[in-house]
Amino acid sequence: MKYLGITLERPKIGVFGFTGCEGCQLQIANKEETLKNLFNSIEVVNFREISSDGCDDYDVAFVEGSITTESEVTRLQKIRNQAKILVAIGACACLGGVNNLKSRFPLSDVVKEVYGMHPVDTGPVRRLQDVVSVDIDLPGCPISKSEFEWLVRNLVLGIKPQFPQYPVCVECKQQLNSCVFDMGMMCLGPVTRGGCNAICPRNRFGCWGCRGHSEEANFESLMRILRERGFEDEHISERINFFNAFNGIL
């Protein structure tokens, strides 16, 4: 592959999963129409979910899931040491994601509730960046294939990708959606990072903030708006903490 005379290297990539639903990894294999081109521009050297071929010679590691055990920490550190670029994919890896909902209860109670006396290894929910340094956060729950491909194109070109700084509302308006607030629903679109084409409001469903907060989001104003519209704090807090994207607001 060449671009304006520069030979482009196919980056060697590895895809790894930690504590998560593997939905993000699945997105990578999903929408096969472009799969062939995708594999033409990258070399997949480690992707357990779809391939038995596995080696540890990768440049870019895509890592899904949050970190909840010590053995995961060690595994992640190994990946970090190998990869030139480490990309956190999905809400679990970038934010902690829904996994963090368990943190509302003491850890010992959590284990007892599900496993009784049966011993299991688990710990607090950590984002990848709580454990190692992360180069790029690819947000979403799940990630979108088109954004993943866009990221790959940037990586191949050697460009640091610039994610939208603006909130979901921009794209929501561009879809000509009716604002779900007008229909009496709550939405975190005004403070959530855009880039998903407002897929939830498009489906008549408020945004839950899976992509993390937008740059310099105006939380105070949103809280005022939500309260004015009669949403109760308890309800708001539930929504805001769902993906662990807005720590400490409520």
Binding site: R48, E49, L101, K102, C141
Partner: protein, 427 residues
């Protein structure tokens, strides 16, 4: 027969590939005897049952979907159904149809992913689908077409391919417009011919010869091949009500697995495509029955490798049934898509046939509309024990047949045939 007192064989497959989640196979053969054979589930648990606690019911389908990246629609449906039963409300007819269509889309998506991307490489001597793109482009094209339709349908009925947001307590946030349905029907018509390519391919694969008498558990269909709700049935004759699922699953702990094991009439039982096929064959779409005949597949199969073929037959079933349902939707009034509800204290179970087998969600709601207790029983969780005992028998058979060199490959293929969804089972 030569009695070989061979070298000890040690097979340790860490992180089995081409399955969802993390699981290990450990096999040790000493003095020509099976000394150890375990199916280890090492996935880290996420404690969904705790995560649900205290949440409002409206968030439940959303969170439930995150249990699994592949069968998120099933989880959303099972949880919504459980809550709706707790609230004692009925979802409007068109929404029920649309939900079933979403379900079908997922079944197709999941089966096609498994068959073409995860299973086919074993039969085509490849490590993954990537080299197959070069060597067998038509295989990939068939998969792409079928999954392309499935993706389009789940975008339409679920909002996106994974983690649907359209499925909500009481119905759906919206129902596709007729124009969209017509476009989908057209795409489906163009996709159905590709099924025969899939059949041509799978007819060339010989499933390994292995039989272990098994109890099969599934939903019990009344008039239709069952996917959402209804009675529970086992091939050993057990029939139970949906609410009585605990009597069907009987979960217990083993020390080498983070997922629970299950049993019913025997040491283990099996759920999934083969169980549905065996228990509800009569209710399959005529086209699917034809397809089964083409593969020489008759109800009462006890070879676990035939899970693959049963999945293929189900692909036929869901595609033809989807076609009929879409046509029916286009011809009917589809404006009603949700039932308003009042929050009240209650308890409910929702059973749904996920691609990998029967899935149960169970919630208790307090008067404020918050979840008090929840329980989810995952198909792969129910299959773990069966996989474990199958593995034993398979390895013993291979030792007896003197085919030790086959053990590793066939053991992996066996586990893969169940299409396990491990992270889901350790939710």
């Amino acid at each position: 027969m030569d009695v070989k007192i061979g070298k000890p064989i040690n097979i340790a497959i860490d992180d089995l590939t081409r399955v969802e989640g993390h699981g290990n196979i450990k096999i040790r053969i000493e003095n020509g005897k099976l000394a150890e054979c375990v199916w280890e589930v090492v996935e880290t648990p996420r404690f969904f049952e705790v995560m649900f606690k205290g949440l409002s019911i409206e968030m439940v389908p959303l969170l439930a979907a995150r249990i699994c990246g592949i069968c998120s629609i099933s989880h959303a449906l099972a949880s919504a159904r459980a809550i709706e039963r707790a609230l004692e409300i009925e979802v409007p007819g068109p929404a029920q149809k649309a939900r079933l269509l979403a379900k079908h889309a997922e079944t197709l998506q999941s089966h096609a992913l498994h068959l073409f991307f995860l299973v086919a490489p074993d039969f085509l001597n490849a490590h993954s689908v990537i080299p197959i793109m070069e060597t067998h482009p038509h295989v990939v094209e068939t998969a792409t077409r079928i999954r392309g339709f499935a993706n389009m349908a789940s975008d339409l009925f679920g909002g996106r391919t994974t983690h649907p947001m359209v499925i909500k307590v009481g119905g759906l946030t919206q129902i596709p417009r007729k124009r969209q349905l017509k476009a989908l029907a057209k795409d489906l018509d163009a996709t159905i011919p590709y099924l025969s390519d899939a059949f041509d391919l799978f007819k060339t694969f010989t499933m390994p010869d292995f039989i272990r008498e098994t109890e099969f558990v599934s939903l019990k269909g009344k008039r239709e091949y069952p996917f959402i709700g209804g009675d529970l049935v086992s091939s050993d004759g057990v029939v139970k009500k949906e609410d009585d699922y605990l009597a069907m699953t009987n979960e217990y702990f083993v020390d080498f697995s983070n997922s629970k094991f299950s049993r019913l009439s025997r040491e283990s039982f099996s759920v999934g495509a083969l169980a549905r096929f065996n228990n509800n064959y009569e209710l399959l779409h005529p086209k699917a029955k034809e397809a089964a005949a083409e593969l020489n597949l008759k109800p009462g199969v006890h070879n676990p490798f035939f899970h693959n073929l049963a999945q293929l037959v189900e692909c036929v079933h869901v595609m033809y049934e989807s076609k009929e349902m879409i046509t029916a939707l286009i011809d009917s009034d589809i404006t009603q898509h949700e039932t308003p509800y009042r929050i009240k204290r209650g308890e409910g179970v929702g059973a749904v046939e996920a691609p990998r087998g029967i899935l149960y969600h169970h919630y208790r709601i307090n008067e404020a509309g918050k979840i008090e207790r929840s329980d989810c029983v995952i198909p792969t969780g129910q299959n773990h024990a069966n996989i474990y005992y199958d593995l034993h028998k398979l390895v013993e058979k291979l030792i007896a047949d003197g085919k030790e060199e086959e053990i590793s490959r066939l053991a992996q293929m066996l586990v893969r045939a169940y299409d396990p969804c491990i992270s889901c089972s350790v939710h």
